[in-house]
Symmetry: C3
Subunit: 325 residues, 3 copies
Amino acid sequence: MKNPFFKNTGPYNINDLLKSINLVNETNSDDKINDIKDISSAQSNEITFFHSKKYIDLAKVTKASYCITTEILKSYLPDNCKPIVSEKVLLVTAQITKIFYPDSITDNFDVSVENIDKSEFKEKVKFGKNVLIGKNVNIGSDCLIGHNTIIEKNVVIGNNCSIGSNAIIRNSIIKNNVHILDGCVIGKKGFGFFPDKNSNFRYPQIGIVIIEDNAEIGCGSTIDRGSLSNTIIGKNTYLDNQIHIAHNVKIGNNCIIAGQVGFAGSSTLGNNVMIGGQAGISGHLKIGSNVQIGGGSGVIKDIPDNTKVMGYPAKNLKEFIKDNR
Amino acid sequence: MKNPFFKNTGPYNINDLLKSINLVNETNSDDKINDIKDISSAQSNEITFFHSKKYIDLAKVTKASYCITTEILKSYLPDNCKPIVSEKVLLVTAQITKIFYPDSITDNFDVSVENIDKSEFKEKVKFGKNVLIGKNVNIGSDCLIGHNTIIEKNVVIGNNCSIGSNAIIRNSIIKNNVHILDGCVIGKKGFGFFPDKNSNFRYPQIGIVIIEDNAEIGCGSTIDRGSLSNTIIGKNTYLDNQIHIAHNVKIGNNCIIAGQVGFAGSSTLGNNVMIGGQAGISGHLKIGSNVQIGGGSGVIKDIPDNTKVMGYPAKNLKEFIKDNR
Amino acid sequence: MKNPFFKNTGPYNINDLLKSINLVNETNSDDKINDIKDISSAQSNEITFFHSKKYIDLAKVTKASYCITTEILKSYLPDNCKPIVSEKVLLVTAQITKIFYPDSITDNFDVSVENIDKSEFKEKVKFGKNVLIGKNVNIGSDCLIGHNTIIEKNVVIGNNCSIGSNAIIRNSIIKNNVHILDGCVIGKKGFGFFPDKNSNFRYPQIGIVIIEDNAEIGCGSTIDRGSLSNTIIGKNTYLDNQIHIAHNVKIGNNCIIAGQVGFAGSSTLGNNVMIGGQAGISGHLKIGSNVQIGGGSGVIKDIPDNTKVMGYPAKNLKEFIKDNR
């Protein structure tokens, strides 16, 4: 699938690509590369990366023509896929992604915006004072957009949505009947970079935010877009005020998340999950469906379906109650 | 007392009211109902609700003409009060409240606002650029309102108040000498609804926010209005930045609340309470006066007067120190 | 050093100064006082304060002509420094600071701002809609300032900075290549005051915020300016979203601080510190270099260099893991 919002500046010749980041091209080839994708979605004439044994099964059947990987892992790649060997797989991946998608690195303000009353949405949308709309925006029927709100470029809003005042939205797909309350910032780049003593190297964030039907996002919440995959808020899921959702988080349907909860990157939640106020969810976790997480909990391990947890670190609720009698 | 801000669309005939939410009228009566109130304040020709044994004493003497309640609890009602029986008391209450107060469900942006220099406050108030003022707003003498701030409809501001920039206020009464700093959102609807698989049913929020004399609210804080009662910040109480106060919370006088503290709904605090940064207070708790709560604490039980607590869950401070030596 | 931003309304005659706050002048002198400073930086014809034995070594060699101190501590002062005795040293210090710097007490919105297209920066800066610029602002080359952002008076911005939309900055020095994301509030007064039953006495906040080269501040973060010293964010330090930094905090270089972390006042961090999401750092702590603090931790003690901690209260990481097996 083509990236919906970020402009791919490719194709690039593999030789030029590697030279520009000071890597030697040991593949002796000279192909045109169209895009960079993750290992399961990359196609012929695309480049991917493979940095952990967790992905061996996917690597064995990748359709990518090139793969950034380590000396040890390269043997798992199929014949169609030429290895680009580096001990810094993620950094090289970031460097090449940056070449394909230079716009995804920083979130400078959108210079393309115009006041909505100069836009095609003048008649269609009910809007407040000083509403700004960027390029490549689409808005459905019966939507409301509050005062001082900025819909930057690359936003799709469905029907019947209510966007509050002082909100900022970019690089996002908002489905139908969604409520986004005052002061939210949605679709900004995730907090991803490679530390470097002089100036950190920002990781490109080419994913988007998707907010499904009937969801509600509370005041002052921040939802960052994904790096290579997307950040997703499920159907009919409600978020209270001052919630922080980091990049690549995927929240299921019918979840209820109370105020000031925070998610580190790349965790997934099932459906019907309830989370009490100020709880924190670490990165790269898998939280099942029908899970209840008590207020103030710090979740640092996966949680299976139908489980109630509480505490820091979070443990089974019964155990928490017993330990704190 | 009449609701100060939300328009009561009643009276409604009790028969029509119940029919419209698919309930059978077993009372065989046909009265006009003027309003919906809680069990202690409801009067003749008003409807109330009674869903928990905690309120038996109030139920026995209610002046309401009708009461939504359960098969078991209805026997406690006095003769003047006809029961409307349902096993979903709170949902039926919400449905009927929504009929009386349809404006209280959602917080779509206020279309009634005008730039302050077109309002009656043009000369009276010292204001910044792009300040918007809604209908039914009153502002006292010697007030300051910062840039881009939106005073939506239904706001009363006393004398000598300083409102910062980028703030949003609605459905609130701000008394005298109050400071509200940049980026606050005050008076939005609380996070209340009945979960429903397709689309949650939002609970009407017909309460307001009251901020008493000399209080200060830090940057980026959110204070939600009450559902049936009000959210109150006491006299000379100071809130630091990024604090979240949920609906119906009542905070006493001379309290000091540090940054990023969060309150779940309906808790009450006495006077002279000090709360350290990032502490969280669960819902429906009673915190006494002269209480000190350590930073980062998670309070899940009532706290008596003159007590120092810390920890998650919060316990007596001495015990916390002993346990963590 | 002269205060860079706050106007010193002095000099004041020592006699008049003390009389205006109802203190008796027991020094029998009548000198002009030029400024109020901390005990190590105060010079001849300036006043300082000395309230704790921690500062005896500095007090013994102070160059100040006057020092607010206690009956017990006054004996440590050198001959050049006349004691002003009070048992409320900090309150008297605040009262005198307020006389010298009346503008530092409250953060009423800046009435001096103009739209940037009426300013000297019209050609030099790339800016969005509705950008406001106050007096005494300087902006370097190649800077971007987003929509609705307010640069209030007393701000210096270096070269190559990107400021997002809906941000508010005052009383701050931003160096080069700094990124400040949407909705930040930087340079507001700290949360400092003396409790008083009727109306708290606000402590003057005459420090500033300094953000060093290559730093990044995430969306919706608040960084308060210092009271007498400054609040500092080091070089190439990255802050994620919704972070709260209280007055006088000093963060070193190359630190990485995840979302919703909070700092109480006056703590210092070394270099290369990593802090996980939602961690809280109490006030007046010294955190060393190369420290790692786990997400959700509550730090209430100093942490030496090269240490990993986690927990509430935070302890050595190995111990935390052992205790929570």
